[in-house]
Structure formats: structure tokens, C-alpha cells
Amino acid sequence: MQLRINGNIKSFDDSTMTVEGLVIKLNLLGKRIAIEKNGMIISKSEFQNITLQDGDQLEIVGAVGGG
């Protein structure tokens, strides 16, 4: 499947994948992040229940230095 993550298209071999599966693939497990799927925030407790679909748009954000 193809996902648009933070504005870039990424291809995955998997035909089905949960948000948690993606987080693991991206080496982000345990990192302090927040995820938005197609404009809706997905709470961390839902990561294992929500399945991703081809064409989903994801924003994965973290806290960085700023004033």
C-alpha cells in the first residue's frame, strides 16, 4: 500500500497494517509523537485498533525547539 506521510509518498509491501504496525516500521515506537490520519487525530490507545488503507494521509508530529 501507499501512504502519504508528512507530505511524502511511502510504499509498503503490506496489504494491511495498523497504525501501531506503521509506528514500529518507522522506528517510532515509544517516541513521543502524535498522529493525524486524514485530518483526524488518532489517540495512542487506538494505535493497535485502527487499520490503515491505501492512500491514507498521515501527519506524524513531535515537539521540537521553538520560542
Partner: protein, 263 residues
């Protein structure tokens, strides 16, 4: 001295330090950490940005150097130019920080000056407060806008001293004074402070605190400047509480006795 119990109260929480600092523009995370430690700040602002995807696992993060367990994070909406962007950013911040409610709202109106768009700011504040956020709001030094933001329910009003990153200091102390006089919530100067005396003047005017980033991070020695700012904030606050003498053009009352002069 009666200032020992003098604390900053924001959204129901007490803080010892009246200096709030940003975490941007430092050379590296180690310098960020050392400067923040020297500043004594308890509230630190962070920005919300896209995470690097496919980077190395061990890559250091700001959070490792200034952990949210030690500081009150104040996620900001820096770089947002619309209500939607600002609200979206802070909803993500709340998720990111496990339901954290205290946020800094800024909605900019112009990329060149970074001047706040107060119309969009008012609209965004309304949405966020309805959603349960405690909103510390960056705004212009317009007393009427400040009043409206307070009426909407913002927990702190943060007018600029001068433009973001300009280091021009306090350009309109009179407006700040009007805002401070009318506000029932804390007023903090946010943006424009360039050096320690600017911070002291803000506090002498009666500000409850000062938020700054560039003045520290862009100093030749950021860690020493952070320490200077800490002292300036404390000195300015004490001077405000002590109540300054009245200004007069001249005084016919010298400080030394007029009696007992040798002749």
C-alpha cells in the same frame, strides 16, 4: 522583605520563576539545557513539527535534554497564520503531551514582521477555550484586544514588547501599563526583549512575567545571558513590589545631612 511568597499563578498552578523561555535557535540540545538551567525557568515553550521519518533510532531529541517531567511544556503555534492551523497544532500538542492543557496561542499576520493577526487570534482563542485549553495568548499591545482576549477566557495575556526576534526592547511602555492596569489575569511580555534591562523594565511596569527566546539564544554567551535574565526578572519584580520613588526633575532634599557641615 515581603516577597518570599511571591509566586506566579497561571491557570491554577504556582510557579517560582517569572521567566519563561523558548527552546529554539540554540547551537545544540546541550546548550539548550544549560541555558534553561541557568535561566531558572519552569515553563518552556516548544514547537510542534513533523517528525523525521526513517531517521536513525538513536537520534537525540529535545525531550531527552529538557524532560517534560521537570518542566511545564508550553506548546506554541509558531508559524501558524490561520485559526485552523493554530487549533490543529494545539490539538496535536495535547495528544502528544498526554492531555496537557496549557498552551501558547499565536496567530501571525505577516511573515516579514511576524506581527500577530489579532482577529484570527481572537477566533482561535474562542475555539480552544471551548475545547478546554488553558490559553496563554500572544497579542499586540492594543489594550482593547487584550481586554477582549481576557473576556473570552484566556488565562494569560502576552503582549509584545516589540517584534518577535527583534531585540528592540519595550517600545510602548504606556500601552503595556494600560493593559496591566486593566487585566485581572497575568500579563506577560512576550517577544522583543533584547537584553537584561528590557526584562527588568517589563517587570518594573508590573508584568507578571516575561517570555523570551532569541535574547538568550542569540547572545554571544547564551548561558551567561540566561543567568543575567534570571537576575533582571527578579530585580525588576522586587523593584515593582518595593514601589519606586516618584520621578522629579530635581530635588532640594540631598541624601546627606545638611547639619554638621565643617566651616
Amino acid at each position: 522583605m515581603t516577597q518570599n511568597k511571591d509566586q506566579l499563578l497561571i491557570a491554577g498552578k504556582l510557579y517560582q520563576s517569572r521567566l519563561l523561555v523558548g527552546t529554539g535557535k540554540y547551537k545544540d540540545f546541550e546548550q539548550t539545557r544549560l541555558a534553561i538551567d541557568a535561566s531558572g525557568a519552569e515553563i518552556i515553550t516548544v514547537a510542534i513539527r513533523r517528525t523525521n521519518i526513517g531517521q536513525n533510532e538513536g537520534e537525540p531529541s529535545l525531550l531527552d535534554f529538557v524532560p517534560p517531567s521537570r518542566f511545564t511544556y508550553l506548546p506554541n503555534t509558531a508559524g501558524c497564520y490561520s485559526v485552523d492551523d493554530a487549533v490543529r497544532t494545539l490539538r496535536l500538542a495535547r495528544e502528544l503531551l498526554d492531555g496537557h492543557k496549557l498552551v501558547k496561542l499565536e496567530v501571525l499576520g505577516d511573515p516579514k514582521t511576524l506581527y500577530p493577526n489579532v482577529i484570527e487570534t481572537l477566533k482561535a482563542a474562542e475555539v480552544l477555550i471551548k475545547e478546554g485549553f488553558d490559553v496563554m495568548v500572544y497579542t499586540s499591545d492594543d489594550p482593547i484586544v487584550a481586554r477582549e482576549l481576557e473576556n473570552i477566557g484566556c488565562c494569560a495575556i502576552m503582549p509584545l514588547a516589540s517584534l518577535i526576534g527583534s531585540g528592540m526592547g519595550i517600545l510602548n511602555p504606556w500601552n503595556l501599563q494600560i493593559i496591566i492596569e486593566h487585566a485581572k489575569v497575568p500579563v506577560l511580555v512576550d517577544a522583543g526583549v533584547g537584553t537584561a534591562s528590557d526584562a527588568a523594565i517589563a517587570m518594573e511596569l508590573g508584568c507578571e512575567g516575561v517570555l523570551m527566546n532569541t535574547a538568550i539564544a542569540s547572545a554571544h554567551d547564551p548561558i551567561m545571558m540566561a543567568s543575567a535574565m534570571k537576575k533582571a526578572i527578579e530585580a525588576g519584580r522586587e523593584a515593582f513590589l518595593a514601589g519606586r520613588m516618584a520621578k522629579k526633575l530635581y530635588s532640594a532634599s540631598p541624601s546627606s545631612p545638611t547639619q554638621g557641615m565643617i566651616s
